[in-house]
C-alpha cells in the first residue's frame, strides 16, 4: 500500500478541502470574487472548460505569470492543471509551488498511453475518474484525491451523476464479496488487488472523493454532496453564469448545508432569477467531443 508518510500529507490537504467548493478562475479578479464568496480553493486556468470546448485547438497548461498572479491574490490554496501524461508541465507547476496539480482531461492529453507517475512529486495530485477502476489506477499512480469527471463545460449534471453513481455502486458491491472473489474483481476493474482490498474493507476510496464536471446551480452542488461527493469543483458554472458573485456564494451555502432542504432552498433563492450558464445536451455530443473519454 502506498499510504506512507508523504502520501498521508498529500491526502491531508485534500481533507482540509472537504465540505467546500473549488472554483475555476482565469484572472486574479475572479480569484478574489471566489475567495470572497467562500471558495475553499481556486483552480487557476487560462480558459474555463466551456470556452475550451467552444474554441477548440490544443488546450495546455496556463501561463506561469497568470497562475502566479492568482497565487499572489488569494490566501486559499491554488490548484493548476497539467495535461494528461505531461509530466514536464507538472514539474513546472511544482517548481511554481502551486498547492495541487490537476492532471486533467479538460486539457488536450499529451500522452495517449501513460498518465503522469505522480508518486515522485512532493505536490499532491487530483485526477478525474468515470468508474472505480479508473479511480484506483490513478491512486496507484499516486493521486491523493479523486474527482468524478462529469462532463466539463457542459453545465449538465447528468454525467457527474452517472460517474458518481457508478463509483459508489462499484464500491458497495466490493464490500459484500468474500476475499477469494476479490482477485477476479481486480482483474475486472483493472486495478491493483491491494486497493481493491482496501475498498472492500472500508467501502470507500483511500483518498477523498470529490465531484466535478457539470455543476451549474446550488441544487446541482447539493445533489452531488448527497450522492457521496466530499467537495464540489465548479468550473464554468460560476463565471459563465449571469451573476458570478451570487452564484458562487449560493453554491458554497448549498454545499455546506446540503442535508437541510430549507437551506438549499434559501441558496437557490439567493440567485434570484439570474440565469445559470447555458447547458449542453451531452447525449447529443459525438463521443470524440466528450472530455470524460480522455485518459483510461
Amino acid at each position: 500500500m502506498i499510504l506512507n508518510e508523504e502520501f498521508r500529507l498529500k491526502i491531508g490537504l485534500a481533507e482540509m478541502l472537504k465540505g467546500g467548493v473549488i472554483m475555476d478562475v482565469t484572472t486574479p479578479e475572479q480569484a478574489a470574487i471566489a475567495e470572497k464568496a467562500g471558495a475553499c480553493a481556486v483552480m487557476a486556468l487560462e480558459r474555463v472548460p466551456s470556452d475550451i470546448r467552444k474554441d477548440g485547438g490544443v488546450a495546455r497548461m496556463s501561463p506561469v505569470s497568470m497562475i502566479r498572479g492568482i497565487m499572489a491574490e488569494v490566501s486559499i490554496p491554488v490548484m493548476a492543471k497539467a495535461r494528461i501524461g505531461h509530466y514536464m508541465e507538472a514539474r513546472v507547476l511544482e517548481a511554481l509551488e502551486v498547492d495541487y496539480i490537476d492532471e486533467s482531461e479538460v486539457l488536450t492529453p499529451a500522452d495517449e498511453d501513460n498518465h503522469i507517475d505522480k508518486r515522485p512529486f512532493k505536490v499532491p495530485f487530483v485526477c478525474g475518474a468515470k468508474n472505480l477502476g479508473e479511480a484506483l489506477r490513478r491512486i496507484s499512480e499516486g493521486a491523493a484525491m479523486i474527482r468524478t469527471k462529469g462532463e466539463a463545460g457542459s453545465g449538465n449534471i447528468v454525467e457527474a451523476v452517472r460517474h458518481m453513481r457508478t463509483i459508489q455502486r462499484e464500491m458497495k458491491q466490493l464490500t459484500v464479496l468474500s476475499h477469494d472473489e476479490l482477485y477476479a474483481e481486480a482483474k475486472r476493474h483493472q486495478a491493483p488487488i491491494e486497493l481493491i482490498e482496501y475498498v472492500a474493507a472500508n467501502g470507500k476510496l483511500p483518498v477523498p472523493n470529490f465531484s466535478a464536471g457539470g455543476v451549474a446551480t446550488p441544487a446541482d452542488a447539493a445533489l452531488m454532496m448527497a450522492m457521496g461527493a466530499e467537495t464540489v469543483f465548479v468550473g464554468s458554472g460560476i463565471f459563465k453564469s449571469h451573476d458570478p458573485a451570487r452564484f458562487a456564494k449560493a453554491i458554497v451555502k448549498a454545499t455546506t448545508y446540503w442535508k437541510d432542504p430549507a437551506k438549499v432552498m434559501e441558496a437557490c433563492d439567493e440567485v434570484g432569477v439570474s440565469e445559470p450558464m447555458r447547458g449542453l445536451d451531452t447525449s447529443k455530443l459525438p463521443a470524440e467531443e466528450l472530455m470524460a473519454n480522455r485518459g483510461w
Binding site: E5, R8, L9, G12, L13, E15, M16, L17, K18, G19, G20, E35, K36, A37, G38, A39, C40, A41, S75, I76, P77, E94, E97, V98, D99, Y100, K122, V123, P124, K249, V252, K253, T256, Y257, D260
Partner: protein, 187 residues
Amino acid sequence: MAHIGVLALQGDYEKHARSLERAGAQVSEVRTAAELNAVEGLVIPGGESTTMLKLLDRESLFEPLREFGATKPIFGTCAGAILLATKVENPEQVSLGLVDIGVRRNAYGRQLDSRVVSIDADGFGALEAVFIRAPIIRTVGPGVTVLARYNGDPVLVEQGLHLVATFHPELSTDDRVHAYFVKKVTG
C-alpha cells in the same frame, strides 16, 4: 458520556469526529446555533479559515460561538486555532478572541512545506504532529500555558477551558490529544 460537537461548515470535520469517537465521546456535526446549543464542548477543525469565517458571518453563528466559548470548552486545530486567536495576520482577519494568542497564517509556506514531525508535549511525551499549511503562534498572553513547541514556536497551548493546536492530531492514529479534550469537557 461527553457530547461533543464538531463545527462542520467546511474542513476535516469527519476526521475529528472519528478521533473523538475513538476517545470515547458522543459526536454531533454542528452547522447551526441550535445544534451548537445541544453540545457540551466543540471542536473547530482544520480547513480554510476564510471560508469558515464567511459562513459563520452569513449564518449569524459568530456571537453564538463566542457565548458558547465563555462557558464551554473549545478545541481548535489549524484553521480552528486561527478562529480562536485574539489577533490574526497574513492577512489580518477577524476572530473569536477566546484564546490570548497572536497567529500568523500560512506561516510555514505553501503545501510543499507541510510536514510530519515528532514533538515533545507536557503531560503527553512524544506526539506525532502533522503540519499542513500551518499557522504560527507568534505571541502568547500571560494566561496561556504552552504545552508543546516545534522549532521554538508554541504548537499546542491551553487557556482555561480551551485548547489550541496548530498541527492536526486528527490526522494521526494517536488519539491522546482528543482524549485530553474529552476530559476537559467532562470536567
